[in-house]
Symmetry: C2
């Protein structure tokens, strides 16, 4: 049984949303859950929701890393806060995977401090799911995977190759996509275009038999969904991800404005409900649960700060799937095979 | 009178669309137009459209740089093609500004080969207009300016400072925006975040009195329109610009699909017509004419390859405005003032 340590105190609506999501997961996933945080607060929330008590345990922690704190300083000052305590729990064998909706930088730094990197992986990556038009994998997932989205500002060619191997392995395990296509984000399609590290990564990826490398992809390919896995450095990935947030925010605002403003538009939006529902389900990150931190010997799922119970439950399920399907061992094998 | 050299043969629908746009500009702008290309072809197109013959002259050129050619090789092989011939015409004083809808790389390289750079500008930039929600400037333009979008893959801090000065000057002249806000695209809002060159550029921009620097902006700010001018390196700018193309392409396709599919959606889209028109006018690049190449002693407006007559006419008008308002001298003064 996969054991998932959950940072019960991290997130905009913690511990309420986190505990409720964990309670749900205790009922409808196969995971055993270690809720890490202030016992009294967790117990109070647990008392309010249906859960399987045999699948949940509580690990006491002291305080919480604030959402907007500087990661290094906060973790130095609060070594026993819920997040570092949960990471230590995994590192010491008390659980197999980590889930947190807390401070992103602090989540990655906690992993870096307590988990070993996979041999051959020089830099770990934060991956994000990006909504696309095209469905993919046996599960018809309407998103592709983008990494790195912020763990590394600048990277070398070898890092991009590791990201490709890790992203493809994750897609195989989580999206049940047997042969995920991998694209390298660049400012042109030609193999000789772009910054040096991308040209070199292109050449190295092209030579790998274990990856379905489709070459460079461009900005326009991101929402088209040309590739199942899109590889980039953390600076560019961060800009891309936040741009997507901005675009959907704008569309929503225009729609809301229209809805308030005009009777004819109200009618129209009523008629369009099916279509809007469809669009919403494509852009609804809640159902995907979170962003995996890849490259350590343990999986960590970083759930969005705004996560509600459903997003937390899904993050726990994804973490469970990673453990059950031995994602880390698979990444290890792939990385070894190309060295 | 501003004299504009127009590459009559470059563009997906050249020379027809280019000549028709120039003909329109001869009637409703103050520009004198030098159409550069194959005389017979240009005359045949001119005969089909209303124009002011006293404002148009033809400069013979030999051949055209193909849209997908490698810039350096093509320009070496065809030194008298319409594009390099038009650039030489400007460099030699036969016109004040250049407009081309041809091969982007070849347009920038032609400028680099024939125009002098403004003293103190180490790297020139290609700027693009990006549709935003917010209106700005005395002309209520629904777009901000993004640069660089592809002339330079990697940049230094000083280049980002030049881009800021040039973009702000362009916004003052073209959008009649007296005090344009300038943002630096980064992966976080803090001054100490991001790659080294961005941290340094942030510090230098903050110290400049002649710029309304609002600090870092993030991906989410691009469609919000937080800044009038957004500064970035050419690699990131290219990804951002092509992502925006991809997003609007996706929205259009979904709308078209919906329209074909369902009677209720057809009705709904009919009712929404006003709103869609509004959205379309925001994303319609045709009305903005093109992307300025900034940093040379002469202005060059790179029109989109798919430009129709209206986009070409608008590009000519923008070029005329740059000349009339002495944009290049203003940039020169700003760059000198910060050194």
């Amino acid at each position: 049984m996969a054991r998932v340590a959950v940072d019960a105190m991290g997130g905009d609506d913690a511990p309420k949303a986190i505990v409720a999501g964990a309670a749900q997961a205790s009922l409808d996933t196969g995971a055993h859950i270690v809720l890490v945080g202030e016992r009294a607060a967790i117990e109070a929330e647990l008392a309010l929701v249906k859960h399987d008590a045999s699948r949940i345990e509580i690990l006491e922690a002291d305080g919480v890393i604030p959402m907007d704190a500087k990661p290094r300083e906060a973790l130095d000052a609060m070594p026993d806060a819920s997040l570092p305590r949960a990471a230590r729990c995994v590192a010491e064998g008390g659980a197999d995977a980590l889930v947190s909706a807390g401070n992103t930088g602090a989540v990655i730094l906690s992993c870096a401090r307590h988990f070993e990197r996979i041999a051959g992986v020089r830099r770990t990556a934060l991956a994000a799911v990006v909504p696309t038009e095209q469905l993919r994998g046996n599960k018809n997932d309407p998103f592709s995977l983008l990494l790195d989205v912020g763990a590394n500002i600048r990277v070398e060619a070898g890092d991009l190759v590791s990201f490709a191997l890790m992203g493809a392995a994750y897609s195989r395990v989580i999206s049940k996509n047997q042969n995920p296509s991998v694209g390298l984000l660049n400012n042109g399609s030609e193999a000789t275009k772009g910054p040096e590290e991308i040209i070199e990564a292109h050449a190295r990826l092209k030579a790998l038999a274990c990856i379905n490398f489709i070459g460079n992809v461009e900005g326009v390919d991101i929402s088209r969904g040309t590739a199942d896995v899109v590889i980039t450095d953390g600076f560019t990935g961060n800009v891309v991800l936040k741009m997507l947030e901005g675009v959907s925010e704008t569309v929503m605002r225009i729609a809301r404005h229209a809805y308030e403003d005009r009777l004819s538009w109200k009618l129209a939006l009523g008629l369009l409900k099916g279509g809007i529902q469809q669009l919403k389900s494509v852009t609804d990150w809640q159902q995907y649960g979170g962003a995996p931190v890849l490259g350590f010997q343990h999986i960590c799922i970083k759930a969005h700060g705004r996560s509600g119970p459903r997003a937390i439950r899904n993050a726990i399920r994804v973490a469970e799937n990673c453990v059950k399907n031995e994602l880390m061992a698979k990444i290890q094998r792939d990385v070894e095979s190309v060295q």
